[in-house]
Symmetry: D2
Subunit: 366 residues, 4 copies
């Protein structure tokens, strides 16, 4: 029952790596939003394997079909069913993994929890599971952009020790898509790509940090006390495969400041309440304050590396495993659209929740 | 509608700082658990203001009453209503804040979202709101301990730049409660207390990091893909006031390792699957793997500092504010039981979810 | 976990008959609704025991307190905690019931499900449980009336074989409250009262039918396919104690007509789409159509009768039981405000859901 | 957001009559249940149009595909995606309905609510929507039968004024499937079929009553106070198209008895608590008591009749409409598997909820 996200803009994903396909059902999308596959496919293309020299060489078109919920190019207000067929399946690479648990992968915990596991391709633990999220997120993104003018972006800030400076107020999609690692600084991007290629050549992997950004979010989204905006963003990010950490605004670094230096002063700027700094990350008390929302997400190095490692087999005997198959040496470039998608799902849900309880009210009356 | 946490072990909290009281309703607690106020009060005492020289001097007994859900000292399986009356209320300290928004506090966003706000004591944004969580968490903690042998602890790891080493496998409650900052290293604890006293004397505030630990969690808890254990833990922590970040296991630091160094090897130890390291933090693929679960939570410095700061008033005019009243110079010692409580709420919920779907199965059959 | 009703206007009730009290938490109520205890108490007075010669003689003031969620007489948008203390408790009347299961009561099933039961006063199965619903429903009723002009009423249509005609378009509160049985036809009301007094004298009980009415509901409320308006109304009614049936519009009787006679023709009346008949009961395809919503609810005769009956004891031995204590010979007059309350909770929830998904749109553009 | 049913055994349906297909996602099904399309298809065949002379002549194979959630013929504990393609689509029959609202159909309310509607085939309001329910229900049925020995059946009791006696304790699937109307009394069945054929020849339609039965349900399922078993059954049935009423056990008829005659006496029968009568319908206080659960559901006559009727068009002008196309003159025979499916979904959900909260406990200890 953990496969549904959101209360009002509600997404249920389904699908294993090597079954009939993967997909999602979006329930609660407002009616009369213009929507065709062409709104969704570009996001899936950003997520697709085989898109560049630093991603897995698997080739899958990941072509999305909308099976329901639209009529004459507009949403109906009924559930939108999104399906992507599975294609390039090679179970043989997984034969050994059928019998042995990959270290730091979900093989063992799935087997222990469910007493059964679809080992070809990793089953539900495959990154293919995120296709449904990205497809649903594309709809949420469009809704947010068209109805509230919200813009959502993500980019790679760090690959292992390499990092760049991200200006969250000026970041553009063009900057992000200008290189295959999706880092807005072209100089650092070169180094990151070189590092990943070197690591891949060694059969190893690296992780890093993605920055997520939402601009133009009106004041008032977020639902304390438990469904604070940062809590739901944190959950969304930590539900993505390979994530180990989340921080919003000043984050862990903010703990080094005193309150007087950390606080964001309010100022009236052209009749609007603004903050002079943005250590809050666009959220105060769990509610958006009108400033840019930004956060960082830590992705661990890919667990599947091509070195021999100690592990146990399904009979719990000690053994070693040297994985084969096709895997990303670094998940970050393909994770960028996932971070954007999950951000969009959180914000679309909270936008509708705010409409419901507060009638869309979003400003202090003066 | 954001005031309920959990699917099966479900907690709804209510209450403003200066209203009739605060409390929680716990729905879904299994029947026949021995439970009286004496099981709950000690946790509230750890959370209470005025407990030491480094917390706010407000004096509130925070005595909890169980109004329903138990009979002859045992739970009935019906909702448990927990109430704590409000006592030491001094609205006058808040008079200025009625008209001016405190920087980096939730005053402005609440006013903007709801068009109304209970300014005395901060209303629902007061730390008093967490009383209901801590009371409910005490029940979850007892259930987890008695039924599954799970032990939950939290402690202060860092106050600003001061930090100690926490051994998550050996940490004890006695170590934590041995000093008023709740840091298990007595030497660092002394320095932390001195720092907080110095900061308080300056009318300023500091933040830091709390480590949360759950030991004895069986294999199999967690509900991918969205309700991964770390995702729900992250949400739980980020729903606490003043939090800015969450990381599990190796966290952000883990992004500096390559996959071969980051992976946790599996070994059969006395017939059980164990990992030789625990960079995963006890969770793989969103499901507990039987190792110690541990994570870190960043708390920002308290927003209410006694310096004059720039802000706007409720008419959106620029002004300055120098807050008065009684506030914690550092929320961490009182946040320790909050982190434990939220951890317990997440785990109790997932324990019941696992019973429901998998019938309590938690081991690979060999 | 079955003690919460609603998705957006969300009510959680708690409380046993003989514990510390009963109450409810309302989460999701929009902010800035004028609200004090005086808005709620009159509904509780209509539900109160001892209000007339044909209800149980128990005397309880059932005075409600609002502990949170309002400030200066207006709702805050935060959870509203409602509490009513328990007062007139006489456990001794229940001593025998501690050991024996009352036929057609919930004693046995609660004991079997939970392995424990609060036998004094029937615990959670007592009609006192509905206090929280009626209190929460009073808030929903006010919201519906003030924001959408919706009027909600219920009345007794049948007591056993005695029934009156109810004109759902003209029914008034004054008619309903004109007599103690709450039947709008004063002549039939006299007979109903006489019947109940006669049945009570015999130590027996009777049931009957309540008609529920909602007028002024705009077109568009209801959320197919599962959360159709009539499905949620049906669930709401069947969640009330002692209910055995629900029908909307033509109901079971409508199965005797052919389609041509059953259909409601549409007509444009002064620019509005209206139906010339209303066999649909104000709902088509699960969505309100702007006509009066009306439905019927069957209440069985009170299970606690003062005759000796065959039953088993808690050791599963055959025995007989002749209940004592104070009970209603007919639940209907006190159930009228319960039906109204549950109707209000369903409609308030769907009103907010419609705002969220469809932005309050409620008319065909022409 | 109204397209999901259940808390733990959770079904989301999607699909319009004339889009790419219809289907469902089942989340929360326990792992290791043997499951292939062959377990589901027979139920869809019972629901399929064109199955007999008294159903709509549309021809659709309604062949189900399982796209995810199983591996080597067993459930994985992950979401099960079920898809049925749309085939025999003839939009031209609906051209007139594009411009005019069918009386007592959902055309108008959908248009008013959403501001858009998929008129071909009725879109989401088509009976095709129930394919997803029946497919998901087949899984729930199998789970209930294999794990708890629960048997679920439904049959036609009444068509208009014709009715038969149903013995809910002895009813068999063979009796039900012995004739095309699915009435267990072969003599009455003949008359019902003749009536439907006559009505169809007149271009008219009829409704009736279906009895639903669940045998072998253990004591203890149901979750008061709001999620009583009969409340969730009632909601489930009233969420089916064309339903107008629901009653459990003695239902509306039970209001004619006094309490002494209505009560079900308890007796110890071979060490088990049984009732000597079953006016409760297998549920007391919202919780199953171990007796046969039975209830009745009223279905109105099909709204689409081939007579000229008064209505309005999409410009709100008065007009008349004489529908064309292929429709069932009586929905009952095809609704029988729908009633069974929804019963199974309710019970599977409550079975898992009981496991979660009460650890499967289902008997009084003696």
């Amino acid at each position: 029952m953990g496969n549904t996200f959101g209360q009002l803009f509600r997404v249920t994903t389904w699908g294993e790596s090597h079954g009939g396909g993967v997909g999602a059902v979006v329930d609660g999308c407002p009616p009369r939003l213009a929507l065709t596959e062409a709104d969704i496919q570009p996001e899936l293309d950003r997520r697709r394997p085989g898109q560049s020299s630093i991603t897995t060489p698997r080739k899958e078109a990941d072509a999305v079909q909308i099976l329901s919920g639209t009529f004459e190019g507009k949403t109906l207000g009924t559930p939108i069913s999104l399906v992507v067929k599975n294609e390039d399946q090679r179970s043989e690479a997984y034969t050994e993994m059928a019998a042995k648990f990959r270290p730091s992968h979900a093989d063992y915990t799935y087997q222990a929890k469910y007493g059964i596991r679809a080992w070809p391709g990793g089953g539900r633990t495959s990154a293919r599971e995120t296709i449904g999220r990205v497809a649903a997120g594309a709809i949420a993104k469009k809704l947010l952009r068209e109805r509230w003018g919200v813009e959502i972006l993500a980019c790679v800030e760090c690959v292992q020790h390499l990092h760049c400076h991200v200006d969250v107020d000026k970041l553009t999609l063009a900057q992000i898509e200008a290189n295959i690692i999706r880092c807005p600084d072209p100089v650092v991007a070169e180094k990151m790509i070189a590092l990943i290629e070197q690591v891949r050549a060694q059969g190893d992997s690296v992780g890093g940090v993605i920055v997520g950004v939402a601009r133009g979010v009106p004041v008032g989204w977020g639902d304390p006390v438990f469904d604070r905006l940062e809590a739901d963003l944190g959950k969304a990010m930590l539900s993505l495969p390979a994530t180990k950490g989340f921080e919003i605004g000043s984050g862990f670094g903010g703990t080094l400041l005193t309150g007087t230096h950390h606080n964001d002063a309010f100022r009236n700027v052209d009749g609007q309440v603004r903050t002079t700094t943005n250590r809050s990350g666009g959220v105060q008390g769990g509610i958006s304050n009108g400033e840019t929302i930004y956060f960082r997400v830590a992705f661990k190095p890919t667990a599947t590396v091509f070195h021999e490692q100690e592990t146990v087999d399904v009979n719990l005997q000690n053994t070693t495993l040297k994985p084969r198959g096709r895997h990303d040496p670094c998940v970050l470039p393909r994770a960028v659209p996932m971070v954007e998608a999950m951000t969009a799902l959180v914000l679309a849900d909270h936008a509708l929740r705010h409409e419901a309880q507060c009638g869309g009210r979003a400003e202090v009356e003066s």
